[in-house]
Structure formats: structure tokens, C-alpha cells
Amino acid sequence: MKSTEENSLMLRLNQPEQQRQAFEELVNLYGPQLYRQIRRMVYDHDDTNDILQNTFIKAWNNLDTFRGDARLSSWLYRIATNETLNFLQRRKDITPLEDAPSALAAQLTADEYFDGDETELLLQQAIASLPEKQRLVFQLKYYEEMKYEDMSQVLDTSVGALKASYHHAVRKICDFFNSRD
């Protein structure tokens, strides 16, 4: 999104009479990409729906605190990422996964909303085997093509650390494929 369009949306979000409609536009604009990002982390559609809903409710409740230092999209990604990590932590506490890739393969095969071939399934298994932070970095860079500078604001991590994290993630995924060939 161009910064001028984002600025225009921000201006309307700050005006009480236009705030609600502007927020609806915000949900329509960023909903699908935030959904993709959350879904790639938690995999299940219903869980993704809950997290996405919480993300936008938090954004609405904290709209007054957003000062515009960061981009609006970065702010939303940051809320969504925190919500997702909290969810994953809670889920890990309840049902720790001993073998994440195998469990994920079974889950995705049974998921009616997963439409990937065998190679895609392997890629998802490879991504699932990564540490959470590396998974996040990989998804944001590989799929969303987010710039490291923006990612730095979302994940509150230095650009150098993000680059290293992405490099490690890519290498591990390659190793995962090589071990299966």
C-alpha cells in the first residue's frame, strides 16, 4: 500500500464521524494478508479466524494509542504476530507436540481447506520444523515479501538478526528436502 493512501486512511481513522467506516476499509484491506500470515503459523482455519478477530478488536480498542511512528500495516502485523505467538504458547502448554512435522502432515491431509500437493505438504512440514521466530521471518519474507526494515518494526528485532534468521531458515528447509530425496 502506498504511504499516501495509508496516510489518508489514518486521517479518517482519527476523525470520529469517519472512524468506523475507515476501520471497515482497514479490515477489508489488511484482513486477507493478515489471515494468510496467521494461518501459516497456526494452520487451522477456525483458530486463525479467532486470532484475526482478536487482532482487529485490539486494533480498534487501541486506535487512539497508535501515534503513526510506524506504518499502519506494520502495527497491525505486530498485533497479529503477538496474538499468534500467545496462541501458540497456550496451545503448546496444553498439548505439547512431540513430532511437529508428522502431526502437521496428518492435520493438513485431513484439512478440507488445505489445497496443496505433496511438495507443498513437505514444504509446510519443513517450515513447521523451524523455531517459531524463524518460521515467522521465513513466512514474512518468502510469502509476503516484506522488507527487512518493516519486519524489524513488526518483530522488534534488528535487520541483521532477521537476515541471519532467514538465511538459517532457508538452509534448514533445503536440508529437510534433501533428507527426503
Binding site: F23, Y35, H45, L123, Q124, Y143, V170, R171
Partner: protein, 123 residues
């Protein structure tokens, strides 16, 4: 990056995760109906600085009361024990002097008879 190209060539960057038909339209409508009105927000929370001040003041008052109670008890105990030891010293003063004299005479190996003679100038 060579390894990144390997993944791109093998898997692409497509999105295998689908959503139910009309999901995003329904999501927006449902979400917007759930959002509270900005005016109907709950009462503003007490500012952090104010709550922190009152909490600190309460802790300080509790600490002061505890300190005063402790110091008061401590001084009372000291004063009481000083008084008791003084009285006990007075009571035992005469007795201890007698014991001291007896011990001294025993170690000097002087008999009572010799002492009597000495005291009556008959020695």
C-alpha cells in the same frame, strides 16, 4: 540466494490455504457488528502514575507502622531486661563477695584459727 531459488523452483510461493466461500465479507460484517462504540467505552482507567502513587503511599505507611511497632517492642524489652539485671546484681552482690573471700582464704591456705589470732593481735 541459491538455496532460496531452490525452494522457489520446487514449491513456488502459492497459497495452499483456502477459506470458505464469502468468508472475508462475512468476517468484516461480523467483526464490525461486534466492535463497541467509541463513546460507549468503559470508564477510563485510573492513570498509572496515580495508582502507583497510592500503592507506594500505602506500602510506606504499612512499613512505618511495622517499624514503629518493632522499635517500640525492642526498646521496651531492653529497658525491662536492664532493670531486671540491675536488681539481680544488687541481690547477688553480697553473696558473691562472701564467696570470693572464702575462695581467697582457701587458696591462701590460712586457717580460721590463724585469722582469729591475727584479728585479736594475739598472733
Amino acid at each position: 540466494m541459491k538455496e532460496e531459488d531452490f525452494i522457489r523452483n520446487k514449491c513456488g510461493t502459492g497459497n495452499p490455504f483456502k477459506v470458505p466461500e464469502g468468508y472475508f465479507e462475512q468476517f468484516t460484517a461480523q467483526l464490525m457488528s461486534q466492535l463497541p462504540e467509541k463513546d460507549a467505552r468503559p470508564a477510563p482507567a485510573i492513570p498509572l502514575r496515580r495508582t502507583r502513587y497510592w500503592r507506594m503511599a500505602r506500602y510506606a505507611a504499612a512499613a512505618a507502622i511495622c517499624s514503629m511497632a518493632f522499635l517500640g517492642t525492642y526498646y521496651l524489652r531492653i529497658a525491662h531486661s536492664a532493670h531486671e539485671s540491675h536488681t539481680a546484681y544488687q541481690a547477688t552482690d553480697a553473696t558473691s563477695e562472701k564467696v570470693y573471700m572464702d575462695d581467697m582464704l582457701d587458696f591462701a591456705m590460712v586457717s580460721n584459727h590463724e585469722i582469729a589470732l591475727y584479728l585479736t593481735d594475739a598472733y
